[in-house]
Symmetry: D2
Subunit: 284 residues, 4 copies
Amino acid sequence: ANRARMLISCPDRPGIVAAVSQFLYEHGANIVSSDQYTMNPDGGMFFIRFEFDLQDLDRELPKLQEDFVRVADRFEMKWHIFRASRKKRIAIFVSKEDHCLLELLWQWQAGDLDAEIAMVISNHPDMRQLVESFGIPYHHIPVTPETKAEAERLQLEKVHEGKVDLIVLARYMQIITPRFIEYFPNRIINIHHSFLPAFVGGKPYQQAYDRGVKIIGATAHYVTEELDGGPIIEQDVQRVSHRDDVASLKRIGRNIERTVLARAVKWHLEDRIIVFQNKTVVFN
Amino acid sequence: ANRARMLISCPDRPGIVAAVSQFLYEHGANIVSSDQYTMNPDGGMFFIRFEFDLQDLDRELPKLQEDFVRVADRFEMKWHIFRASRKKRIAIFVSKEDHCLLELLWQWQAGDLDAEIAMVISNHPDMRQLVESFGIPYHHIPVTPETKAEAERLQLEKVHEGKVDLIVLARYMQIITPRFIEYFPNRIINIHHSFLPAFVGGKPYQQAYDRGVKIIGATAHYVTEELDGGPIIEQDVQRVSHRDDVASLKRIGRNIERTVLARAVKWHLEDRIIVFQNKTVVFN
Amino acid sequence: ANRARMLISCPDRPGIVAAVSQFLYEHGANIVSSDQYTMNPDGGMFFIRFEFDLQDLDRELPKLQEDFVRVADRFEMKWHIFRASRKKRIAIFVSKEDHCLLELLWQWQAGDLDAEIAMVISNHPDMRQLVESFGIPYHHIPVTPETKAEAERLQLEKVHEGKVDLIVLARYMQIITPRFIEYFPNRIINIHHSFLPAFVGGKPYQQAYDRGVKIIGATAHYVTEELDGGPIIEQDVQRVSHRDDVASLKRIGRNIERTVLARAVKWHLEDRIIVFQNKTVVFN
Amino acid sequence: ANRARMLISCPDRPGIVAAVSQFLYEHGANIVSSDQYTMNPDGGMFFIRFEFDLQDLDRELPKLQEDFVRVADRFEMKWHIFRASRKKRIAIFVSKEDHCLLELLWQWQAGDLDAEIAMVISNHPDMRQLVESFGIPYHHIPVTPETKAEAERLQLEKVHEGKVDLIVLARYMQIITPRFIEYFPNRIINIHHSFLPAFVGGKPYQQAYDRGVKIIGATAHYVTEELDGGPIIEQDVQRVSHRDDVASLKRIGRNIERTVLARAVKWHLEDRIIVFQNKTVVFN
């Protein structure tokens, strides 16, 4: 309950680790783990993640944050502190394929995803029963070319009402508009069913079949305005052969997709990801 | 010494396996292994590979081939029989990176590549000593924009003199012209240092770094007129992270490239590959 | 509906493929795929799997089987023909861990496991609701040292009543007795949560942690009298590090276990496995 | 040239990171990377690795080390500082298989292994020419049951003369005695050609074949008195099938062995490994 996580990005410069760890020590925090990365030792960016324990965290954190501003200013830091016990609230968007949704629900039920699943939103009614059997609200918001704007308004209303921190597109087959993305910068995770940047866009398994690749993959990334172009969080692959037709690629791919998406979501929930210039630093 | 391999492609139809295996049996051949693939059971293409042993192969093969024409005609087969003991002759083309060449030389020396390495051709003089220490002729044929046509003429002369069956581009950084390719259809293997179709063209590791992928790969393919667009034979990948800069990606990639290329060459040498519509069937 | 599969084992000898494919051709069967393996070309065992289509299979099969006896006798074959449309009936045994069961249920529901799940049997009551929500009967048969024999009698009664073809131990944490195994030779698949033969027996993740391995795995195998010693069907692994404690290994391992078990079950259902001398030939 | 690396183990306690990074900062060192691991947040061991740059390292280091004693004492640290520019000296021991040796030589030549290869010692004369062509001394020290003690004495003499820091057993097929090991605690790396702890001892590929595993592997570990029982540094695996006989397993295995061994050696050279209770912490 007294565990916190701190993410910092700043220009590299001598003394950063010393300053922060000294600061934490003086405030009574015990560093449980730290992980850092310097993009380029000669004048690049510096990224660091701390996990620390602090007695009476809830009461002490505001003071610690206030005091940290001085350190942050000195090093021009972008920083954030997260309380580990404060579960993030997720909205899962889904269309007709259920495997990614199911994986998230199972892992959540098994205690492997440390989050609240605030709601599932779908443009189809199909998965209502499944989702509600987990005690999770299900909002069926149909999307047609004519109602797209209204549907998005409704979606935003729901996620704002639900105080959602993270949106997970678990094979949600609709384009998210820039206006929507603006509300959740680096807080919408999508699973694309190919090894990006190969096979951007629609029907990636058909594309993979047509090209005759020997390995297929899936990619979890943050959603940006560029289709399938956002910062990649995680990828994985599996070997296939000429014997695999499109149906077989889809079947194999489902297993990759769900695993990759669940890993990416887990890392986000554990505050392990920093985005910089359309790429991710993942401290795992 | 009496081992042969047979590759057949034809439209699918009942009775093919029966006809061929009956034919082989009646000619005294013992089928050691067979592997087949039907692209689409309802009227697609059919591919099969046999390995068989035949007493006195060298003497008996011409008769068997002559007799097989009748079977082949009946089923509209494209077919070829290879004697396993007749080693294919390879020309390796290389520029300045030596890892793929070295891998092929080592595997060849270890007895893992069943071929004659007839020559190494390079647009640079750097690897002469290394190659000649293996007892292999080294032809340094410089390539400049002005001399490109003449260089190609020289290369063709060398490979024809050397009775070369297979050309391996082991990180040869020059474009092969369509005219050259025509002489060696599906008999030029290139290693591309990315997971195709991602990162076609130059500097794929830089491209991979810029995109922030979490896995990199390499692709061995037959060379066709379309740059990096030929039939894929083999691919493999390895996990990387934000910590890997371009130099590190190259270092990791070298290991993937050499392994993938050596596997593809091995399969070609063992007559395991059939090309159909810009894709490969690999019986392995 | 007219698809059948044939598995044959016999001593290697010339003419087997010819004889069988000729036989099938003459009986009007069209071979859709064949896969063979000769253990040792000089006098070893020979294994082959055919898939074929036969008009009016249900009516024609008895005659074909009767006629095949002559071929089989000539080559001393052990053989079996399976109708693809005749779904195998599975009993899943489970204790308290649900991930392997869930994976099977989900793949079954998604149409990826071509079987009837006849029942789930458990020594715990915990998963009744889950299982019954899939419309599958759930038999809670408690097992204690005193009631073990009686429990086994009950289990056998249930699986016999249910005309079960295959038993899947989906993390069933009880020893199966030789007497029980005798009823289902090479028809009980177990998932062991280690990369066998490493870490036989109990608490394999603890063992793996104590030894400090850098990769963990799981193994699906047919159950024989020797604990964790039966023919291995499939294995897979995943990389771990010093950072993974036992809980983390278990979490990572769950994903490997369920994938490996589902693959093994799928191959069994598709009649792709031949057991010979405590090893498997898997035609996939 | 001014880069140093620091490895520390000590009982976990608040303030360690702060104390060390403060210390380094005050001595003018710039931390380039740090990586830490706490075995068990509630009272376990703590491990940390720093890379730092220090102006005039050669001149300043003695003073810094002297001053650090006070910090080290306070936290009961085991610690060591390595100058990155001070190349470690390696002796490679080899018998008749050359693939692991070749890999090390090639990576060394390519600049991927930052070390001096001081010598190669072999119980066979076979690889003298190869090794000497790299400009590396080759000592042929035959080993027979009668001369074993004398051979070991000679080996020790050679490695002491050569000021060797690390011994790499690159498929050296002789047992190293406890007396020899004592001179190089956690400084002898062996490659075992199986996925330990499976298939300890001789002929692991034969053992793997007999057991019918579907994946084979290799393990690099520090040598201790217990045969194949020392701390595991790195492992890797590759998929095989029933088609792979022992010769094929060996061929596939060679590729795994050389890759795994080279990785382990590289990590040792970069001071990334801490051994604790027969396990390794690898900061990579």
